[in-house]
């Protein structure tokens, strides 16, 4: 990749304009349910926000610190199972249970980190996959603890009472707001990381581990911090998912395709950026949802009940979302390894060069 073609400008997030845009978007999304009441739309919103959260979480360790874990399902699943089991077996409401889930994930990440961070590049990837698989297989096998392949079915979530206010969790609306808040939080967390010493150190590790080491960066500590943050946020998403979807089993939350999807969200949007996972989620989620549930397009009022397109997708493409994922990965890696954002950046750099903007580096030397 010719870095000069990127216009030579460093990526610093999007500055004040960017922050304002994000805040405006969040505000719009917050009032959205006042106007659109269809539960399916709110459902899609939650799914979208969840994908954003997963992507933002992975970004910290994969995008910034450059440690490509393809085993993040381990943390997602731990979050899901901890929250679910605490609720179903001990009647602990999820707003408390989630903290235990996060704690579990952080501890797990420290263990996994100490094992896998000694490895580099592809070996690290392989190890991260192995760990997630070990956990999945264990969850399937130790039925006494986890109910094995049977999984957990959520009975009910108690209402949350804060003072006079009582929030029930039967409809989609409270989930929508909770997910939106969480997504906003993870985006903020990413922004904070990027603009802190942590962010600089993570990126230094990504760019050149040995150089970073010799500049005073304690590699194990910082890698583990990145992973811990990432694991905590991923587990949060996992716990939320369990409460929202109301059923979990080892293959759905610990599976390799969960891990792959998480990585995809970041790759498609643009690795190591704040907006990347958002874009990636906005591409992946509608795509996979349309394929999984084409009737959804009818529910959204976009297509008539008897649409031939819906029938076609239903007949041929049920569960083809993985196929589309695969094609997407191939296309993105081959033609746009820096994701959508990379494509945009290269395009704008080309435009800027043609406009003869001042301060462009001369291609000398």
């Amino acid at each position: 990749m010719d870095l000069r073609s990127l216009g030579g400008r460093g990526q610093r997030g999007f500055g004040i304009v960017g922050i304002l845009l994000v805040l405006v978007a969040i505000a719009l999304l917050a009032v959205f349910p006042q106007f659109v009441k269809k539960p399916y739309v709110l459902h899609m919103g939650v799914v979208l926000f969840l994908a954003i959260i997963q992507g933002q979480a992975w970004n910290v360790v994969g995008g910034y610190a450059g440690q490509y874990s393809v085993g993040h399902a381990a943390y997602f699943g731990i979050g899901a199972y901890t929250t679910m089991m605490l609720l179903e077996m001990y009647k602990i409401p999820p707003w408390w249970g989630i903290w235990a889930a996060i704690a579990n994930a952080v501890i797990l990440s420290l263990v996994i980190g100490s094992i896998t961070f000694r490895l580099r590049g592809p070996y690290f990837v392989l190890a991260s996959i192995s760990v997630a698989e070990i956990i999945r297989l264990a969850a399937l096998h130790f039925r006494g603890l986890t109910r094995g392949a049977e999984g957990f079915l959520l009975s009910e979530i108690p209402a949350l009472t804060i003072g006079d206010l009582s929030i029930e969790f039967y409809t989609k609306r409270p989930f929508y707001y909770a997910a939106l808040a969480l997504a906003a939080l993870t985006i903020a967390a990413n922004w904070l990381v990027q603009h802190s010493k942590l962010g600089y150190y993570f990126q230094a590790i990504r760019e050149d581990q040995d150089a970073a080491h010799s500049l005073g960066i304690n590699l194990p500590v910082y890698k583990n911090v990145a992973l811990a943050i990432s694991a905590a946020l991923t587990a949060w998403a996992g716990g939320f998912y369990a409460m929202f979807v109301k059923f979990i089993d080892p293959n759905t939350v610990f599976g390799l395709d969960v891990s792959v999807q998480i990585v995809l969200i970041c790759i498609i949007g643009g690795i190591g950026t704040i907006i990347g996972p958002v874009i990636g989620a906005m591409v992946l989620v509608p795509l996979s949802e349309v394929l999984r549930n084409p009737k959804g397009l009818v529910q959204l009022g976009l297509l008539p009940q008897d649409s031939a397109l819906v029938a076609f997708i239903e007949a041929r493409f049920a569960n083809a979302h993985l196929l589309v994922y695969g094609i997407l990965v191939v296309v993105v890696i081959l033609f746009a390894p820096d994701g959508v954002l990379g494509v945009i950046r290269k395009a704008t750099a080309r435009v800027r060069r043609r406009a003869g903007a001042a301060g462009e580096p001369a291609t000398a030397g």
């Binding site: 490895l119 592809p122 070996y123 190890a127 192995s130 083809a320 695969g326 094609i327 990965v329």
Partner: protein
């Protein structure tokens, strides 16, 4: 004692087939330094091809290797020329993701065409076994093992004695030097991927009389292949051979002495242990 011996023998027989998969993967890695995450899917394609040929032409799976192996070779060569070749100089993470993507496309396309129904390929000898005292040796597994041994021997001869084979080894050892010596390294990469795919597909054909055939069967074998290759040392054909047998043994013994449901988990744990303590493999080659 019989249980132990039985377990050992079954493990070694299956291990031979695993070795084929591992050898294919290690050749690909040796020549191109690419970690092929779609390796199990190549085996899955071999299984389906064998099944199709069996169902439509009545060809015995072991005989159909004559068709399946070249078919997979061509497919592997195609994949390398069109896709893998473009990422030879990319970040290893991107290479891995590309092969993961290709694997997803392969397994899900097969699912679209054949549905996820489990297929079984039953031959006249699928459940037959020879008896040696108190130990029973599965016939199909024994045949598979013998064929594997023959193929492995042929492969060694190819790599050691023929010009092309030596060219492949030279490319694996030092790509730049090989190029300077006039070896067409691009062609070697295509060849390597083709051979790797052919070996993997052959393993699929060999195991088809004794294994369920379904679109997702590949992923378990991909991971197993990696364990084998890391155990034996990335790029070492001998290592992969031994590693395959070792993994087969470990699985078999674990199924008996730990718990059947945990046998794969044990392999993964062993894998992590090797990655941590002897990343250059049990036979210890340099690159780690």
């Amino acid at each position: 004692m019989t249980v132990f011996l039985q377990s050992v023998i079954s493990g070694i027989l299956v291990g031979g087939i695993y070795a084929l998969i591992g050898i294919g993967l290690t050749i690909i890695f040796g020549v191109m330094r690419v970690i092929n995450f779609a390796h199990g899917e190549l085996m899955m394609l071999g299984m389906y091809a064998t099944w199709i040929v069996f169902t439509m032409l009545g060809l015995d799976p072991f005989v159909s290797i004559v068709l399946v192996a070249p078919l997979l070779f061509l497919w592997g060569a195609f994949l390398q020329k069109v896709f893998i070749n473009r990422v030879l100089n990319a970040l290893p993470q991107n290479q891995i993701l590309l092969t993961i993507g290709l694997g997803l496309v392969m397994s899900n396309t097969v699912m679209l065409i054949f549905t996820s129904d489990y297929r079984i390929l039953t031959t006249s000898y699928s459940s037959s076994s020879y008896t040696l005292g108190e130990i029973s040796i599965s016939q199909p597994l024994l045949f598979a093992f013998l064929i594997t041994a023959a193929i492995t021997a042929a492969l060694y001869w190819f790599l050691l004695k023929t010009d092309t084979g030596q060219a492949i080894r030279a490319t694996a050892q030092d790509r730049d030097a090989a190029q300077l010596m006039g070896i067409n390294v691009r062609a070697m990469s295509v060849l390597a991927f083709g051979i790797g795919a052919a070996l993997s597909g052959t393993a699929g054909a060999l195991i088809s009389p004794t294994y369920y055939i379904f679109p997702q069967v590949g992923s378990a074998f991909t991971l197993k292949a990696f364990v084998i290759v890391v155990l034996g040392g990335m790029g070492s054909v001998v290592g992969a051979t031994l590693g395959g047998v070792l993994v087969g043994l470990t699985e078999s013994l674990a199924a008996v002495y730990v718990a059947s449901g945990l046998k794969e988990l044990v392999v993964f744990v062993a894998f992590l242990a090797v990655l941590l303590f002897k990343p250059s493999g049990l036979l210890g080659k340099t690159r780690a």
